[in-house]
């Protein structure tokens, strides 16, 4: 079925644009970049319809990548229902965002570079989802990390951008550290990395091994999906162009962790302890990030923390065993969060670069389409039925309740907070009076069309694609009785959040500030994101760097080792100068030495020969 075409098309796009893009006209670049992605989307559709119902995975083998002794890793692609969803999300939303970017990036420098990177990202992301074994998955995993690094640092003459890029890459590396250790342990345990083999043997493996594999995989997932404590890179990642935030840091890449965890469900089901930890981390992240989201003024930052928080939900989903629910939320989240980002991108575009919500307001008059589409997304994320977010979030919370009620309650509160800060953002941006100086202008259709499509998806995506049913054949069905009350409570929480937001930012403007000033310290802490970056910097980064410089380099290397080496040399020369003192130049003392020597010789000789008699 030529699965390889799916990733190769964007790769070709990348190569063409990357090598010759500089000489191309804009249109040519667009054609190559967008075309390649749309083509691969088309090919995905064709593949899916070609393969019929994918109850069992369809695998294709291409070549042996690494072989050593008995162990070998093949470059294989596989496709099953889970993959299908990911493929559709990635290529579909990817295409939309490519189209959007044509408009958004129209006036940016390094146009071809941008699209080349974007295509490269698509390639790696598709490799990631198509992989039939952990190592190929790891290829995509690292690759998307690279692309995110490149795109975050797209404006490479800006220090903060490149810093953010490095941060993203390195934090991801920490996650990958866990992932790779998991891989090593798997090989040690199963002797293979193919999903099939691993999952098949997982049942028989000792639990503690599985537990550790699970935990290590989770560390990787935490890095990629920005969970505690490794979430810190994602908010900074907003330094990249907005489409990037939408595609990579909202819709696709960051969900890779969730995908990978879901993919490894067999391992987790045999290591429940690991699953619990995932759930805890998930809910903690969800709540924690949501609280930070409350106090941000940069529109993209708000949505960034929201993304972290939503990813937390997905983690809860897979953590409590509702894998399908997690994937479900992954999809819907892709719709509305991509929309939110693209929308805010459109806003920023409208205000030609302004990102601070305090300088916005009342924009709904100027940019109606953007406003409307974003509203859909906002409602969806707040979990208002029957919008997309409602179904997935509800499924997760339901499952969570049956796993551990307190997770449910915390999740519900988070839902309230989410609704609050999203609408806070909406109100600050679109309602009230315009506080800026730029002249807002609506974005071109090439940007609006994707918005509209995504809007439709966030509105209807929920009940159009019933993911849990679709995935029923893969994941163990966990029958959770429909529980109306819980549903109502969580929905109510969302609505409450919206209401409060309305009161504070539309009905009674200024109330927010007074509230903030009343609990100044709390506000400060939250506003400064709990000083987490500062703490990391002080406890890890600085000690390592300074320690390496002062202790290891200056101290051990230059001081100790080289000191010892040069010391030996110096000692040798000292010995030399001592020996030179014998050379007094005085004949009589020379004769003295000779006499001395002869006495020694005689004594020695006589002693020894006396011995050997």
């Amino acid at each position: 079925m030529q699965l390889w075409l799916i990733p190769i098309l964007p790769l070709a796009g990348f190569l063409i644009n990357g090598l010759f893009g500089r000489r191309f006209s804009k249109t040519a670049i667009d054609a190559v970049a967008v075309g390649s992605v749309v083509l691969s989307f088309a090919w995905v559709l064709k593949t899916i319809f070609g393969l019929g119902d994918l109850n069992t995975a369809h695998t294709e083998h291409y070549f042996t990548w690494i072989q050593s002794g008995a162990f070998s890793v093949n470059c294989d692609f596989a496709i099953d229902r889970l993959t299908v969803i990911m493929l559709l999300v990635v290529t579909g939303i990817g295409s939309l965002i490519h189209i959007y970017s044509v408009g958004y990036m129209a006036h940016e420098g390094g146009y071809y570079r941008f699209f080349a990177y974007l295509n490269l990202f698509m390639f790696f992301m598709l490799v990631l989802v198509l992989a039939a074994n952990y190592l190929v998955l790891f290829v995509g995993w690292e690759g998307v990390g690279l692309c995110s690094y490149l795109l975050i640092g797209f404006y490479f003459d800006k220090k903060f951008a490149t810093n953010a890029g490095n941060k993203a890459f390195i934090v991801n590396r920490i996650g990958d550290f866990g992932f790779s250790l998991a891989i090593f342990m798997m090989v040690k345990q199963f002797g293979s990395l193919d999903f099939g083999t691993v999952f098949q043997q997982a049942a028989g493996a000792p639990e503690n091994v599985l537990f550790w594999i699970g935990i290590l995989l989770m560390v990787g997932a935490c890095g990629k999906s920005a969970q505690l404590p490794l979430y810190v890179w994602l908010p900074d990642a907003m330094a990249g162009p907005t489409p990037v935030s939408a595609l990579i840091h909202a819709a696709t890449m960051v969900t890779a962790g969730v995908y990978m965890t879901a993919r490894s469900w067999v391992i987790y089901t045999h290591a429940p302890a690991a699953m619990d930890i995932i759930a805890y981390i998930g809910i903690a992240t969800a709540f924690f990030a949501a609280t930070i989201g409350l106090a941000q003024n940069d529109i993209k930052k708000v949505f960034a923390y929201s993304t972290v928080s939503q990813l937390g939900y997905m983690f809860v989903g897979v953590g409590v065993g509702a894998f399908s629910a997690g994937i479900y939320h992954l999809m819907t989240h892709a719709f509305f969060k991509a929309l939110l980002f693209l929308g805010s991108g459109s806003v920023i575009h409208a205000l030609s670069g302004e990102q601070d919500m305090r300088n916005m307001g009342g924009l709904r008059k100027y940019i109606k389409w953007t406003f409307l589409t974003m509203m859909c997304a906002a409602v969806a994320i707040s979990g208002v039925p029957p919008f997309a977010g409602f179904f997935s979030k509800d499924a997760i919370l339901l499952a969570a309740y049956h796993h551990a009620p307190w997770i449910y309650w915390l999740g519900t509160i988070t839902a309230g907070l989410t609704a609050f800060y999203v609408f806070r953002a909406m109100f600050m941006t679109f309602f009230g009076e315009y506080r800026g100086h730029e002249h807002p202008h609506e974005s071109p259709p090439v940007m609006l069309i994707p918005l509209v499509i995504l809007a439709l998806l966030s509105v209807a995506g929920g009940f159009l694609f019933k993911v849990p049913e679709f995935l029923g054949t893969i994941f163990p069905a966990m029958e959770v009785p429909e529980d109306m009350t819980l549903m109502v409570i969580s929905t109510a929480a969302g609505l409450l959040g919206i209401l409060i937001a309305y009161v504070m930012y539309v009905a009674k403007p200024g109330m927010a500030d007074s509230l903030a000033s009343s609990v100044r310290w709390l506000y400060t802490v939250v506003y400064n994101k709990y000083f987490v970056d500062e703490i990391y910097d002080a406890t890890i980064v600085k000690p390592v760097v300074n320690g390496s410089r002062a202790v290891l380099w200056k101290g051990v290397d230059a001081g100790l080792i080289d000191g010892a080496v040069n010391g030996i040399g110096a000692r040798a020369r000292n010995v030399g100068s001592v020996l030179r003192l014998l050379q007094s130049g005085n004949i009589r003392s020379y004769a003295g030495w000779i006499l001395f020597g002869s006495v020694l010789v005689i004594v020695a000789m006589v002693a020894v020969t006396g011995g050997v008699r």
Binding site: S584, N586, R588, S589, A591, G592, W593, L595, F596, S598, V599, I602, V603, V606
Partner: protein, 166 residues
């Protein structure tokens, strides 16, 4: 009577030798060195080495020492100045000497067969005739070789003491 002979001349030899060492003026050293050689010549006779005894007096005490004295006169070397010192010698010199002498003397007399004694006429193979024969048969090669030695001596003297290198 041999004993007395030995003791007398041995004492003279030693005394002169000591004098060589202690005298600060080269001339007196030279003279006492002649003394040593003379007394050694007597001892040689006692050991039955007539020819050597003669050679000792003629070549050594005669020629060589005259050469020395001649040079001393030439350079009119006075009593030596006590300038300069060698810590090595002044510190270790005496003990080393004692050790050296002790070792030599001790082992020589301990290891050497005691029974043999020397008395005048105990060995008469040292006549000029015997030596001549040995010299021109067995020791022909070294004998000829010494001629080179003399040649070198002459050369050396020429090279070093000639007026100017032309």
């Amino acid at each position: 009577m041999d004993v007395i002979l030995f003791l007398v001349f041995a004492t003279i030899a030693v005394l002169c030798a000591i004098n060589v060492v202690v005298q600060s003026h080269p001339i007196s050293s030279a003279v006492s060195l002649v003394g040593v050689m003379g007394s050694l010549a007597i001892l040689y006779l006692l050991l039955g080495a007539e020819f050597i005894a003669a050679a000792q007096v003629i070549v050594y005490a005669g020629a060589v020492m005259v050469l020395f004295v001649f040079v001393i006169m030439l350079l009119n070397a006075g009593a030596e100045s006590r300038r300069g010192r060698s810590f090595m010698v002044s510190l270790l010199g005496v003990p080393l000497l004692m050790a050296f002498l002790g070792l030599l003397a001790y082992y020589v007399q301990r290891l050497f067969r005691q029974d043999v004694t020397v008395h005048f006429g105990g060995f008469t193979g040292g006549t000029a005739r015997d030596i001549g024969r040995a010299l021109f048969t067995t020791y022909l090669l070294p004998f000829e070789a010494t001629s080179i030695l003399i040649l070198i001596a002459i050369l050396g003297a020429i090279v070093l003491a000639r007026k100017e290198l032309d």
